[in-house]
Amino acid sequence: MKSALAIATVVLGLIAVWYVAAALMNASLQRDQFANSGRADYSAHDLVGASLNMERPKLPAPHQVAAELYKLVLATPPTSKRSLVYHGVITLEETLIGFAIGSALGIGLAVLIVSMRWLDRSMMPWIVASQTVPIIALAPMIVVILNQFDITGVAPKAAIAAYLSFFPVTVGMVKGFRSPDPLQLDLMRTYSATNAQTFIKLRAPASAPFFFASMKVGAAAALVGAVVAEVTKSEDGGLGARLLAGSYYGQTVQIWAALFAAAALSAALVGAIGVAGRVAERRMAFTP
């Protein structure tokens, strides 16, 4: 409750800062517009009011973005190509498919790495190193290469989403499968448990907190991948395509609306995983 108040205060503060910034950044542009239309008798009040309601502002005011979001999300039918719901669904589809594939592969590889020593020693350093490499740079190339094979539409973007979520999930799950302490592993050995049994009864449940943490990182990464992929191949729509279209035509309000839609999507995904994690935590009672 207390932190809700604190969060609300900070959010209100940020919105206030945003309004001030919008007024300051748009004022000179608006002054030019007044000058062009031959108006010289405007007051400071007029200037501020007008610069917060420009059609193509440098920085749209919060209420303009909110109005645009309302218009494009609720007031436009979701089948229309202008609707953000339409584009959001495209992005969400790519993200979810890619995320499912990427995290399944990541978990699978983590299982292999933990159970096979030579894989761990030869491959793990590369996977860890991949975390330091801007792998997103590969995105445009993957789109084009898949295009050569006539793979278009959702698939190339889902592929990029998959491979962006793959590495963090692998690293996180290897850590998770290794998290049981040596005492517990020894106990399993005294029970003469097989490797598979140790895995199912000890390593897998112990990795649950790591699982949800890596799912969150992976989902966020998948969405970034999908959005960036849409920028490189924008004719099929999606929130990234809206960003690019907005930047081509100087439609700042549209860019911000698409940005907020993407942010909401990401927050919803991560939030859902967080809720699932808390439920699992309570069910499994693994909090110390």
Binding site: R121, T132, V133, P134, P140, M141, V227, S247, A258
Partner: protein, 258 residues
Amino acid sequence: MTLQRLRDLLPPLAFGLAVLAIWEAGVRLLHVPAIILPPPTAIAVRLATSVPTLAADFRQTIQGVLAGYALGSLAGFVVAILIDRSQFLQRGLMPIGNLVSALPIVGIAPIMVMWFGFDWQSKAAVVVVMTFFPMLVNTIAGLASAGAMERDLMKTYGADYWQTLLALRLPVAMPFIFNALKINTTLAMIGAIVAEFFGTPTVGMGFRISTEVGHLSIDMVWATIVVAAVTGSLFYALVAGVERRVTFWHASYRSKEA
């Protein structure tokens, strides 16, 4: 010690070479066209023959990376110190910072290009926003991580707020701060490269990738990716090396030395 190191290095090296060999052999035997996947040797040749272009791209992109990285990390750190005394603000900012860290911030690239122009300044601006929140969140968490016992000890010494901060809480926060610095190296590279997809002067690694993909000269794309990968790894290694110097007392290093 060095022998042990060599032994640790051998399997990944062998693995890497094996992947390259299979790639080379596979591409040549199956006659995969070079516009889909060029063999590693072709990429190496391209890399060697295009040094001036690649160097120019590197110079252009690294400016945005470094300026944004320094400014964003510094700003996150300073804000964390500024709100350190206000529990209220921290409680409000922590969840927001955590949330923002999960958002697709690279999306602000077109806006920054509009505000700051095509040159490296707009890329630095994207990087500033991307690196700010991880640093803020980690510094706040790090400053909170000093134990009650140690704080009590500082109190019995009669240390004031700043003395406690400098002598106890900041050193204890260092592993967290370096964690953010390491995360930020990757974010800075991603931010600068992706921002270049939205518009640059005709130079830069992101620009090179998106245009050469358009020309289907995939070997040049791979050469640029090699440069980006090596840059990213070196940047990370540099920060990790500094970390080792600064937080030599931390358990994760101590145990290895012993």
